[in-house]
Symmetry: C2
Subunit: 568 residues, 2 copies
Amino acid sequence: MAALSGLLPGWLRGYRRQWLAGDLTAGVVVTLLLIPQSLAYALLAGLPAQAGLYASIVPLLVYACVGRGYAQSVGPMALTSLLTAATLSRFAEAGSSDYLALALWLAILSGLILLIMGMARLGFIADLLSEPVLAAFTTATALLIVLSQLGPLSGLHLPGNALPHYLLALWEQAAAWQASSLWLGLAVLGLLLVSRRWGAAALQRLGIAAPVASVLLRAIPVLAMLAGTLLPPAWQVPVVGPIPSGFPSPVLPLIPLSQLADLAMPAFFIALINYVQGLSVAQLLAARRQESVDPDRELLALGLCNIAAGLAGGFPVTGGLSRSVVNADAGANSPLASLVTAAAMLLLIFLATAPLALLPLPILAATIIASLLSMLNLASLRRAWLAERADAVAWLLTFCLVLLLGVDSGIMAGVLVSLATLLWRSSRPHIAVLGRVPGTHHFRNCLRHAVESLPGVLMLRVDESLYFGNARQVRQVLLSRVRQEGGVRQVVLVMSAVNRVDTTALSMLEGLDQALQQAGVELHLAEVKGPVADILLRAGLADCFAGRVHLSTQAAWEHLAGPVDYQI
Amino acid sequence: MAALSGLLPGWLRGYRRQWLAGDLTAGVVVTLLLIPQSLAYALLAGLPAQAGLYASIVPLLVYACVGRGYAQSVGPMALTSLLTAATLSRFAEAGSSDYLALALWLAILSGLILLIMGMARLGFIADLLSEPVLAAFTTATALLIVLSQLGPLSGLHLPGNALPHYLLALWEQAAAWQASSLWLGLAVLGLLLVSRRWGAAALQRLGIAAPVASVLLRAIPVLAMLAGTLLPPAWQVPVVGPIPSGFPSPVLPLIPLSQLADLAMPAFFIALINYVQGLSVAQLLAARRQESVDPDRELLALGLCNIAAGLAGGFPVTGGLSRSVVNADAGANSPLASLVTAAAMLLLIFLATAPLALLPLPILAATIIASLLSMLNLASLRRAWLAERADAVAWLLTFCLVLLLGVDSGIMAGVLVSLATLLWRSSRPHIAVLGRVPGTHHFRNCLRHAVESLPGVLMLRVDESLYFGNARQVRQVLLSRVRQEGGVRQVVLVMSAVNRVDTTALSMLEGLDQALQQAGVELHLAEVKGPVADILLRAGLADCFAGRVHLSTQAAWEHLAGPVDYQI
């Protein structure tokens, strides 16, 4: 019995009775959100609507077994769906059986990549993307999705995955839009936006209790869909079309190995985005309970979810921000809430696919657009601009690149832009000339403070770790400072801000020492940190600097001031 | 007259008579080195031998006009030649007219890229490559070149540009080697290596003055070549073949725009390598005279040299390390030495191309191999291993990737490996718990020092700038430390080692503060540096941390110890 309970997930063994009500409510509320989203995101990915249902159910079950988050809701996401469409449209016609097969494999591949990264403990890879770059990427992608949804909204066919494609297609097909589709879509969009903005207040004024009002509001998209299925056929609005009942048998179509190789790179980027997304959701939820998240565990769980989604006939999935927050807010206390959602979705797929077939596409497009407007994050640009200009430039660069190149090239560009800002920022470190604050043992920047200095001694502090990206620059600046000052006999390099040195920096220090020696100047080091001192020792530089490494700047000062100074 | 002299390069206006003898000697000595190298590197690049002559002469003239180095010798280089061959062999058959046209355009494109980078002041881009990665790249490339020269040395044809290609070709053609070629090549190689190792000592023992001996030794490759042209035709050794006399008329063949676009990326990497190479040569020479180098100026000069090399019918060029050092050692005082070399090469090309046609290829291969052995830099691996394990891993990774993928993909891999080590190293910063050294105002790591602490107060120092690469990690570690300690009411984050923060880190600090507040813990900041404080202010975090930012750790201590502590 004990052995059996060891096989159960931790949350189940520790389950408390008072959690049940919250879990049940949350499960139902999330289902209301998930039905339109799962169908819409499948269509966004260029897949038949049922793929969204398959991709919604199985990952929920898997995450409940292996995941650690109490309210994480794993399933199809707008960002990933567009990335899937952008990737697959390069290899096959949307809707073809090849396209379907590639979608499964994309999910399985990105799942395997996540799994491997988790086993190799590469959780830190989420940090390849800086926050402004991620915000710009999300905003640009949301904009692209809204544009792509103008197609189903207005009855047009908009191929491609970047701004130029959409604009060109809109221009060419400007005369072909269908009035009935467009008006229906805009009406539902208006209803969704109005209810989101003023719905809660209005229901409250009607005297409806807040929890009930919240469930009602969440049901509005589903109610709009239900109403849509009752539209008279005379309107001739395009609909989702027949959805098979039940689950497909899990058959994995074989694809050529060369195609699998082509999918590897896109699968990596989808895995990266899904992981960053899923991890930030997990951290947000964990922070509410003062818990911490194990990124490597999260990698493993997301990896298994994606493999399962692929095997079940779905496409790449991750932890959805809005659904997970709704889940937590509606009272989810454990993954049981997700199991409830999965059960409800299973009921739907086995019993109620017939009405789904009549669902008008413009209504689905409207629900996607409404859910995406919150992803447009222009505030992040303002924030980056205030904090650090380079981050704002990175934001704009990523935003433009994603719009112009599409999401798939855009994410690669984002990683490169993140790394470039890092390199750029640390490549030109702040270097201060120090002096001693009179009467103290403190040494400060001589430009900001009234300080005293020793004749012939130049004290310099480099405010950055020394590494290949700035070694050359630091050497040049130090040498030219010595030359400018004139009459310098000793240079003290204050290393208090140098947290690390690498091989390139060691060579630089050696070369700098030689260059200064040739110019008749002695180089001293002060306040070398423990780890840096260890490296100097290992690389043999400690010998070469013997007698010229000082524990503190004050010690260097006393050494250089010489015995005369001591007698004062 | 004054206006006219303003047009002259600076070195010519300030020319001193006593420089003349050194410049003349150096010019002649470098010519002896340049003749075999220019021919051999052209063949290495897959081009006719005369392309090497053109690429040698024109850049020397251009650099003398616009460059700043006094002894920089710009021309064909082994590394660049192999990169050229690796790039062009993907688009055309070596030796075809298409191949020739692409070589010109590759030089012009990489010249334009250097020029644009110079005008945009992007000199810092040389720092994309860390020293271990560059050393590994150079070593692997030298090894590949030695392997590729086994072809001409043994009369085989070895196509491709990576280790697997060479091994396969050697295996397939193992039976086809020509004994006469191989023995001749090995004999010359032996002669070159022996003369380099023991030549100077032997000549000195014969009573020959050191300067004369040095010139004699430099002349050995040329003498070997001369002797080679006199070999009896019965030996049937492959030769260079007829070289046209004089200069080709500067006609630029047109190539399709799509091919030009294909060349852009390789041209960028060749420009990068040429710039890194040229800049390090310039800095080495400048350091001997305690001068400094303007990287952007060097970019402009190298850019113009490459454009000129392309227009003259050559291929990409840069400052050669060995030739420049020989130039300086032989007494070069100004670019006049390069002009002398250019004039001597011009004489050669107009008057003496006939004997060059009879030059045996195995002898040229032997001179290349001999000149490359000094590029095999295994000491750099040992050095990296001693200093920093991650650098040694980067070395090995780059080395293997270059051997396996070839030089062209290898250089890109090198850049990525450099950046990855940077990210990896700063992603897991050292975080120390601090305490006060009794009787002082110093705060040190409580694991290394006997320190005192305040009850309920946790003081932490993060030894790294906070940025997107470590923000998540730092947040996790800080939160779990607080949890582990137990009973913590106040946390002091000592920011003395934080040189920069970015937008991602600001969000992290805000989120950390909220998470700690929810847990009933107060977050304080101490020793925030000027530039970091400015950013906190701009981003509005200073308000949110009002009253909780302390000038020094001691100030934070006194604040938290409260009035009771003051009365003691």
